[in-house]
């Protein structure tokens, strides 16, 4: 600094001491920040390029977008553990034509915007060969066009009927878990034909999985000519449903159908027992998973649910999967771990059939490949669904007794 131009004031020298001390501390912080910025520019410049061909030792990248927080928080862990079990098994036994799977997992927070960022990252940055998930229907609605544009196959455990091929016309979107329309139809069939109910009441959540499930149920009841006596709404995160259950009881329903996520289901069942609403209670697949029974405790005894995985199924493939899962992770599996487990093996078979990791070729292979997995025979149907398996089961306090298995 040119001191000749500055007018020195009495406090100048003392201030300089303090100034230097403060400036050093702040300069350090500033340097850290600049380093971060510089680092990011470097990362920017070295954008990853290139895709891998199988047979070489470059790993095949697959990305899993799973909900670890948000309305789907019950499911994220199962998605990841199911997929990783399959990936580790495949890699241990030679991989896919010698190349191993590299599984990258992200939390999509059960919402479409976060999922969209993840899918973009998977496509452009990670250069994924295929994408598993999102698992939540609302998120898939928002992002499936991205996969379509990038020509990357997307295999999802999301089940809303709005994701059927005739609605999305997305050649790159496949579903590895039974569609809600199928489950809903079975549920209504059971309610009408077995329970012989005439005055059903429904309690429904507010997100897109719940609202589109409700629309399906309404349609199904229409085909039987039965009118739904009362429909009550609740929001994800609601902990008090006294008003809703009271109104359902007042409406004189003879069966309660639950179309909500797991914690809300537990809240409903606790209140149902408290208010002594003694009608059969039957829920969609969210009511058939451990989170629901854990949170509801004894209130869940007697609840019927449309499950996608039942641990007591004597089918050897199911038992083998359950044992392998228990051995690796120390707990029993739950839906949708089996779906993603199947999905990874399905992808392996498709890549082998296609002989390449090119998205277009894998897509073609997926449309015709057949694989028998935990969920039975899996083959892509006209609605781009790979399976229609489900169970109707009843909770006895410890496990779920299978009342019937579909198909």
């Amino acid at each position: 600094m040119s001191t000749c131009n500055r007018i020195l004031k009495p406090g100048d020298y003392i201030q300089k001491e303090v100034f230097v001390a403060r400036f050093c501390r702040k300069a350090f912080v500033g340097l850290v920040i600049l380093a971060l910025l510089g680092g990011s520019i470097l990362i920017w410049g070295c954008g990853k390029t290139g895709s891998s061909t199988p047979g070489s030792s470059t790993p095949i990248k697959i990305v899993l977008s799973a909900p670890f927080t948000g309305t789907g928080s019950a499911l994220g862990e199962w998605c990841e553990k199911g997929a990783r079990l399959a990936v580790d098994e495949i890699n241990a036994s030679g991989g896919v034509k010698g190349a191993s799977f590299d599984l990258i997992t992200y939390d999509d927070a059960s919402d479409a915007s976060t999922a969209a960022t993840i899918i973009r990252r998977a496509i452009s940055s990670d250069k994924a060969v295929a994408i598993f998930g999102p698992n939540m229907s609302g998120a898939v609605l928002g992002v499936n066009t991205l996969a379509q544009q990038a020509k990357v196959p997307m295999l999802v455990g999301a089940t809303a009927t709005s994701l059927r091929y005739d609605k999305t016309k997305n050649d790159y979107l496949f579903r590895i878990k039974t569609d809600d329309g199928v489950k809903g139809a079975e549920l209504v069939k059971y309610v009408v034909e077995v329970l012989k109910a005439k005055k059903p009441g429904i309690i429904v959540g507010s997100d897109s999985y719940c609202t589109s499930g409700l629309a399906d149920l309404k349609q199904d009841f229409d085909t039987y000519g039965i009118k739904i006596v009362d429909i009550e709404n609740m929001k994800e995160g609601d902990k008090d449903v006294t008003a809703q259950v009271t109104k359902l009881k007042k409406a004189g329903i003879d069966v309660l159908i639950g179309m909500t996520h797991e914690p809300e289901g537990a809240v409903v069942m606790l209140k149902v027992r408290e208010l002594k609403l003694t009608v059969p209670c039957i829920g969609e697949s969210a009511w058939g998973v451990p989170m629901f029974t854990d949170l509801a405790g004894d209130a869940a005894i007697g609840v019927i649910s449309l499950q996608v995985l039942n641990l007591a199924d004597p089918d050897p493939r199911v038992q083998k999967f359950v044992d392998a899962y228990k051995a690796k992770w120390g707990t029993e599996p739950s839906d949708p771990a089996n779906c993603y487990y199947d999905g990874v093996y399905l992808l392996k078979k498709a890549i082998e059939m296609a002989g390449s990791t090119d998205g277009v070729k894998i897509d073609e292979a997926l449309k015709t490949v057949e694989y028998t997995g935990v969920q039975g025979l899996m083959k892509c149907d006209a609605l781009h669904n790979f399976t229609n398996t489900c169970y109707i089961s009843q909770f006895n306090g410890k496990t779920w007794d299978i009342l019937s298995k579909i198909p």
Partner: protein
């Protein structure tokens, strides 16, 4: 010589910014930067409202949502071209912002923040429940993207468009800061009773501040809607409003460039933290919030303040005559 240094640095910076999209083929990084620009627009409005005028708002995403949904609906249901949609989005946001200003006339920090939280939550609830209008929790899809002729904008084109808009916003802030409106704003910030005594209409000033910040938030929302192509109620929650306020504080509440620094750093920080270590995906958010917390506690004047002060010392500029401190720091109200 120092002045030349300043010109060189600024010039190099400008060149870097203009050439950035061409330096890499990674579309995702470009997309994140585009998002960063949109955040910068919103956060600049917040810096104006909270930093300059001293009004806290924890509901800015509400305005963003209004702008986004309005623009989407106008272009989808009424078939208007996109620029009209965006103007409509901004207009509606500004009008709502003028109304939200009303509680600020009487309420101070904490109580005002509660009212703004309530505002944000009410907007969110309306988005989820007015299904016929907003598509409810499923949201709106197939929002028309911006097009050049017949082809939709690429990430690169969005980059340049947003760059121009951000530059205009900064210019606007600069003109406002050094105008009488800016000075009125700082006066009201420091002590609105005293300001009134100096014949400054604090109500008008506060209303203007809210309106402007709401408009910028609405602009950001509308642009997002067209870039991303779909809208759901999910991102318009309290925690995102909080993130934006954090961006403003980290960037520097009293700095013109506060919005730029905060928006850029805090949009990129979570991305950089998404390291490929297995299992780390659970921890990156935690690390992110720790870093932000450290900056807020140790450097309440923001990174931008350090940056610009450091830069101006580098160039040997005399310290400006007006350095405004938060005079309310020690005595409480």
């Amino acid at each position: 010589m120092r002045r030349n240094l300043k010109r060189i640095v600024y010039g190099a910076f400008l060149v870097l910014i203009l050439l950035l999209p061409l330096l890499s083929r990674n579309e995702y990084n470009l997309f994140v930067t585009d998002t960063a620009f949109l955040n910068i627009i919103l956060v600049s409005g917040l810096v104006f409202l909270t930093g300059f005028a001293g009004q806290i708002s924890l509901g800015q995403v509400g305005f963003s949502a209004i702008g986004a949904y309005t623009s989407a609906l106008v272009t989808m249901r009424l078939g208007m071209p996109i620029p009209i949609g965006i103007v409509a989005g901004v207009a509606v946001s500004v009008i709502v912002g003028l109304f939200v200003a009303i509680p600020s006339f009487k309420l101070k920090t904490f109580f005002l923040s509660l009212v703004t939280i309530a505002f944000g939550e009410i907007i969110h609830l309306l988005l989820v429940n007015l299904t016929a209008l907003t598509g409810g929790s499923q949201g709106l899809f197939n929002i028309p993207p911006m097009k050049l002729g017949d082809t939709p904008f690429t990430n690169t084109l969005y980059y340049y468009l947003f760059l121009v808009i951000v530059a205009l916003v900064i210019l606007l802030m600069y003109r406002l800061k050094y105008s009488h409106i800016g000075r009125e704003m700082f006066a009201v910030n420091d002590d609105d009773v005293a300001a009134e005594a100096c014949a400054i209409n604090s109500r008008k000033t506060k209303t203007f501040a809210f309106g402007l910040s709401a408009g910028l938030a609405g602009l950001s929302g509308a642009l997002t809607a067209h870039m991303v192509g779909f809208l759901t109620p999910d991102p318009f929650t309290l925690s995102n409003s909080v993130n934006f306020v954090a961006m403003a504080v980290v960037g520097g509440l009293r700095e013109l460039g506060g919005g730029v620094v905060g928006g850029f750093v805090l949009t990129w920080l979570p991305e950089l933290l998404k390291l490929k270590i297995q299992g780390f995906e659970n921890y990156y958010l935690m690390v992110d919030s720790v870093i932000v917390l450290l900056v807020v506690v140790l450097l309440p004047s923001g990174l931008g303040a350090i940056l610009f002060k450091g830069l101006s010392r580098l160039w040997g500029e005399k310290q400006g005559a007006v350095t405004l401190h938060n005079s309310k720091s020690k005595e409480g109200e």
